[in-house]
Symmetry: C2
Subunit: 405 residues, 2 copies
């Protein structure tokens, strides 16, 4: 069960988006594993993809298609990542686009493929082909909930959220869903996020909005530092309510960004909350750094430290491990005598040594919580950054050691 | 039990070095925890210390003393790291030097202090003071074995090795001991290594010899990426056999380096072999990189990946995880279609995709071994680098989660 999240809330339909989910039998039995997401004509679509050099076949194809024209269909499967499959994998991904395009009367370039699941096995194109008719017949505006379930792999719950925002005096629905349990497991390659609104947005503004939202949400979560070959995040603006296109730099654009940021941050945190074996949801916040870069260096060094993560699992206020992580983060001419470290509001390290008024009981009290903020003050400037992570538990090792057996 | 190492071999005495170990009651009961190592007059001493900005009090003091004059005594305690103790910790470390210097009739600046053990507790200077007389009375050339035991903290066995090397037609003994179980645990702050020979070596040449040896040994091991606040490695040349001083750039210097390199590599590997919870000893070797830097980037990304490490623990030839780690190592314009990956001599990935002749049985056979070489060919140049690491097991989490409870 994810930390602080029990079940999928109601997801609002988005005018101009229809979804269908079917059981294509790609890997799982008795559950949906194929989703078609239909985008109204004149929709604008922005996307960001994994930066892993070994990106999966569908990522290569989706990037190419998106660079040529606006998509009409997203074709998403779980159970098989179509990664590490070489040139045949790319042909498989293209073939699924061709098959859907023929049935849906569009060009293959207007279909973006997405896959998540096991790495290194050929995509069963026949299974997907056989399921397309049923899927196309089932397209509906209220298909979000079923789709959020169908894209799951190792997730323990379906993940999504809706918001309403205003632009030009009109209200718009914004709905997002995500799959991913911890951004880990390149072999269950990993994070896919789909967000759509029924406002109209200029293409460049939409991409800009997505880029800044992802930077402070999906790019700020880490479970074990591994990034996957298939990660993708898509933001669609259908314009299906006939409103004017939102332009960058306007008040409407800021409203859009605020709503998209909120959804991305929420969905990103859900991935950490559902991280494999996680028993704690941890915010690592670095304050008073010289710039963002050094704040992030310190934050990730703490968040990736197996020693800090096992101490979190043990609810052990082992400040020595946090202090040592700060010390080895590679910050130039760090004055350790200015560094302070807090667990929530309890100061554990002040001026580079254990705080005089610190008591083990106070630290223990915070560490027993299932949501914890580790806050480090560097006293070097005004930059602030935060990342979200989880602990390292027995179950993490069990899940990842036993995964293929 | 360490992988491929059962017990301390015989350690050769080094003329000009006398050691004593006593039970000072610093933390442990019923075992030695304090070592004095006496260096003959005219010895030369080289050292490298942790690069962690939060370095411990004894590291600060030892650096200062070594910069001023050649040491006569090394004073080493286990059980308490005297780290995270601020200014009082520095005074404690200095005080132990003063106390030993008074009894040994040298200056306090001729004593180098070293501590390893729990972080954040004041050093019990009184315990050390009370044990000094007995220790000084017990100094002997055959004290290496007892000392290798006395400096242990979480090590499961004492670690050391001896070699003989030739210079100027004369034979010299070279003996080294190390403590450290995995370079992890900044709270049991962590690696200490002491190596000595009875040859005479010029000071600058000795430091140069140690620097290059450490770079390819202690700086090439990793268990979890955490580096400690107390790491130190000392190389002493006593010159007690009255030989001429070895100079840099000579054949004798190369003989010395070869012997020191061999000892450092052996001792470094012993730390990984004894890593907490380790069930596998893994060499990660990157070939045909453009330069050392990018080879090391890829090597450490693989060696630090919790997913690769849990797969190693599970004996699962999960090549997707290795491939994804190569892909996210941040190598500029990496051509993934040239990358090959081997487990020992079994090719698992060729030209960026699973090798056609690869069988799961072959991979499984290698992964079941307790010593494994992961070899990655980048096909970008002639650089080669290797690092040594271990797997990530249930016991790692257990040991590090339960450590203080």
């Amino acid at each position: 069960m994810p930390i602080g999240y029990s079940q999928l809330p109601e997801l609002l339909p988005v005018a101009g988006i229809r979804l269908a989910s079917v059981a294509a039998g790609i890997r799982y039995k008795g559950r949906d594993d194929l989703v078609i997401m239909e985008l109204a004509e004149d929709s604008r679509c922005a996307a960001v993809f994994t930066r892993n050099a070994f990106c999966a076949a569908p990522v290569i194809v989706a990037r190419q298609h998106l660079a040529m024209q606006q998509p009409r269909y997203l074709l998403i499967n779980s159970g098989n990542a179509n990664a590490g499959t070489g040139e045949p994998g790319i042909q498989d991904a293209q073939q699924t686009c061709v098959l859907l395009a023929e049935k849906a009367k569009c060009s293959a370039g207007q279909v973006l493929p997405f896959s998540t699941g096991v790495i290194g096995e050929r995509l069963p194109v026949g299974c997907i082909e056989a399921a397309l008719d049923k899927a196309l017949a089932g397209l509906a505006e209220d298909g979000w909930k079923a789709a959020a379930h169908a894209i799951m792999t190792t997730d323990t719950v379906a993940k999504g959220i809706s918001r309403i925002f205003e632009a030009g005096g009109q209200q718009f629905n914004l709905t997002g869903m995500v799959k991913g349990a911890g951004m880990i497991r390149p072999d269950m390659a990993t994070m896919l996020a789909y967000i759509a609104c029924d406002a109209a947005v200029e293409g460049a503004a939409l991409q800009q909005c997505l880029n800044q939202a992802v930077e402070h949400s999906f790019n700020r979560i880490t479970v074990d530092g591994d990034t996957s070959t298939n990660d993708a995040c898509v933001l669609v603006a259908t314009g299906a309510k006939g409103s004017a296109r939102i332009k960058s730099g306007t008040a409407d654009y800021r409203n859009l960004c605020e709503a998209v940021n909120g959804i991305c941050e929420y969905l990103a945190q859900l991935i950490v909350r559902d991280a494999e074996g996680a028993t704690k949801f941890v915010t690592v916040r670095i304050e008073n750094g010289r710039d963002s870069e050094e704040c992030l260096k310190v934050a990730y060094t703490i968040a990736h430290s197996p020693l800090v993560k096992t101490a979190l699992f043990a609810s052990d206020p082992n400040w020595g491990r946090i202090l040592a992580a700060v010390g080895r983060a590679g910050i130039e001419s760090l004055d350790i005598e200015k560094v302070s470290i807090f667990l929530d509001d309890v100061c554990i390290v002040r001026s580079g040594a254990v705080a005089e008024d610190y008591s083990e009981q106070d630290g223990q009290r915070i560490m027993r919580q299932d949501e914890i903020v580790i806050r480090v003050q560097l006293e070097r400037g005004n930059a602030v950054e935060q990342v979200w992570t989880s602990d390292l538990s027995h179950d993490y090792v069990r899940i990842n050691a036993e995964y293929r057996t």
